[in-house]
């Protein structure tokens, strides 16, 4: 029982990270109908920028932890957003209106490029960070102690705050309105004075900065990163987005939580080796039985 509870706690923290990445996929898919395959790499870059920021702050003597965390978050979000913007500008924008698979192939190329770019610049070896946030709350004790670390609380709380802010942006600001309009019908939105290019760029900026937050979290949570983490996390987050219904923001968050829970429970009770297989099996099952996901609208194909 306690073991189950502990796995649930771990799964929720992990799921919050996946959910934040999944939002980037789901937004981009909603607005331009492409799978941004390089989004996992953007998250990886976020984690690297965060690690470099932590070390730079440590050298500058900023050791007050809340301040350091805040600065690292801001730095990671800003620089990673720049990467997200540049990727769209270079690899996707020239391909709008091209045949369907062209942007996806371009995105795969971008993903390979970014992975090797980071590997060449920072080295292939695993990078580590000493734990920054210590301690936690004991939830239950007995034969197996259940612990919620402050870090897990921080991750979940930050995710909730970001989700709330984000939902507000989409629902009640001019930018959100423009995004929803472009999502419905880009040509019509352009005719009515929405700057489509700018809206799409901003979507990539937002998606990348949320991925950067996920990168900061994963760096704090595991303390280990390398240039290859984006591939796996990217696929899992994409699965989460599909599971929740691609194009739906609450769906992406819920999908992320479910994937995190599945992963934690599967590795807790079944086998660690096959935990990634499990995620793919879930993806296939969802696509077969409920292709529109949990919250998605069924897609009607017209002639």
């Amino acid at each position: 029982m306690n073991y189950l509870l502990q796995q649930l706690v771990n799964g929720i923290a992990l799921g919050a990270i996946y959910g934040l990445i999944a939002i980037g996929y789901t937004m981009v898919y909603g607005i331009i109908g492409m799978i941004n395959f390089a989004h996992g790499e953007i998250y990886m870059i976020g984690a690297f920028v965060a690690l470099i920021a932590f070390m730079a702050l440590g050298i500058s003597g900023i050791t007050y932890i809340p301040l350091a965390l805040l600065l690292v978050l801001v730095i990671a979000m800003v620089f990673t957003a720049a990467y997200g913007w540049a990727v769209e500008r270079v690899a996707y924008r020239p391909l709008r209106g091209s045949f369907r698979l062209a942007p996806l192939i371009s995105a795969i190329g971008m993903s390979i490029f970014l992975q090797n770019y980071v590997q060449l610049l920072q080295g292939a070896r695993v990078k580590t960070l000493q734990p920054v946030v210590h301690g936690g709350i004991a939830l239950a004790s007995g034969t197996f102690d259940v612990q919620v670390s402050y870090l897990q609380l921080f991750i979940v709380a930050l995710t909730v705050i970001l989700m709330a802010a984000f939902t507000y942006v989409i629902a009640a600001t001019p930018l959100g309105r423009a995004q929803r309009a472009v999502e419905q019908d880009a040509v019509m939105a352009a005719l009515l004075g929405v700057d489509v290019d700018r809206t799409i760029s901003l979507t990539f900026l937002i998606g990348a900065s949320l991925a950067a937050v996920a990168g900061v979290m994963v760096l704090l949570y595991y303390g280990v990163i390398d240039f290859f983490i984006g591939f796996e996390a990217g696929i899992k987050a994409f699965t989460a987005a599909v599971l929740g219904g691609i194009g739906s923001l609450p769906g992406a968050m819920l999908g992320g939580l479910l994937i995190g829970l599945i992963e934690a429970l599967w590795s807790g009770y079944a086998s660690v080796e096959y935990k990634d297989v499990m995620v793919f099996v879930v993806l296939v099952l969802v696509l077969i039985f409920r292709p529109s996901g949990l919250f998605g609208r069924p897609e009607v194909e017209k002639v």
């Binding site: 270079v90 040509v187 696929i235």
Partner: protein
Amino acid sequence: MSTEAAAAPDRVAPRGIAILPLLKESFLTAIVALVLAIPLVGFRIVESNGTTGLATRFWWVGFAAGAVFLGRFALGIWRGAMPPRAVGGASWLDPVARFGRRHARIVALIGLVAALAWPALPFATRGIVDLAISVLIYVMLGWGLNVVVGLAGLLDLGYVAFYAVGAYSFAILASDFGLTFWEALPVSGLLAALAGVLLGFPVLRLRGDYLAIVTLGFGEIIHILLLNWGSLTRGPNGIGDIPRPGLFGLVFERRAPPGFTTFHDFLGVPFSPSQRVVFLYYVVLALALMVNLFTLRLRRLPIGRAWEALREDEIACRALGINPTNVKLSAFGIGAMLGGFAGAFFATRQGFISPESFTFTESATILAIVVLGGMGSQMGVVLAAILLVLLPELGRQFAEFRMLIFGAAMVLIMVWRPQGLLAHRAPSLRLGAPPR
């Protein structure tokens, strides 16, 4: 625009260059590059004696920004000097492609003669023939994937799964069950086809990019299985000592195993290790030609027509009574079988296989060959395979930049020429399509 230019839309006058806006644009691009470069280029995480620290190299950042400035400026000059060109518009490769299509037989014949004579050419050392074998394996894989991606229009990101199934089937059949190359080859192909049908059956109803991600998942699942299912695949250690193929019972070894005759004894010539390489070259050439003829014939059969029709318009196909699932499944299965053949040959040529050889990068490489070649073009696949295998070989000193250049090339080629080097079909009439 003069009437003459309007009459020949391919020859629009150059746009001219506005230097000041271009300078401003280049400057802004350089600023962006500066921002991008500061964290990852400017700082380097270094480890020494168990502690990590930061090293700086800010002059690299300046260098990168300067290079981007000059690059953007040069691009602007180039674009201004060249006639404007829409995405996927005309380029100097079109006449090449047209020539290739019009004289397909002659080009194919020249290629065939060159391929047959290759090992006999004066500069063909053992290494060069070996390289040609690698090219031909990728040509085979490219033609196999072409059936799935080029003809049927199904984006398969996990083609390596079937390549792996073929290779492992062959390795297990040959080393554990003692089958010879020629017995095990068809069986491996069939097993790969079976895997293709089994995996394809549940997912082929999915739309393009969903299918792509699911097939990517299959590739990863097979990779994880190869790593962890130790009793069958021997895990990360891989399978070694895979038997080599023989020619009608003649083996290519220095000394014959009991009960066998060696090739050089039979012919009465001295032994040389390049005999085996040349033999393998002709085996893979024969296999590749078989694959080529097979797919070319298939295209003329009703099933091939159905693939192409389905690629163009699925709803119309359904209305005309074509069962999309069966048609897609046949493309998936046949593509998988061809990948399986290539895998079996790969296993026997290497003599050793491990999960390392069957990663997503391999899938991406094969896909890049098909896309780069111009989806559906047999000749384009050959060109692209030669390009993608030779480039890394030529630039050995740039080995670590190989994948970086590879990824960048994929992006640039898509941006520059989305229809591939030798586009097979002319762009069909398009009404102002929304950017979706």
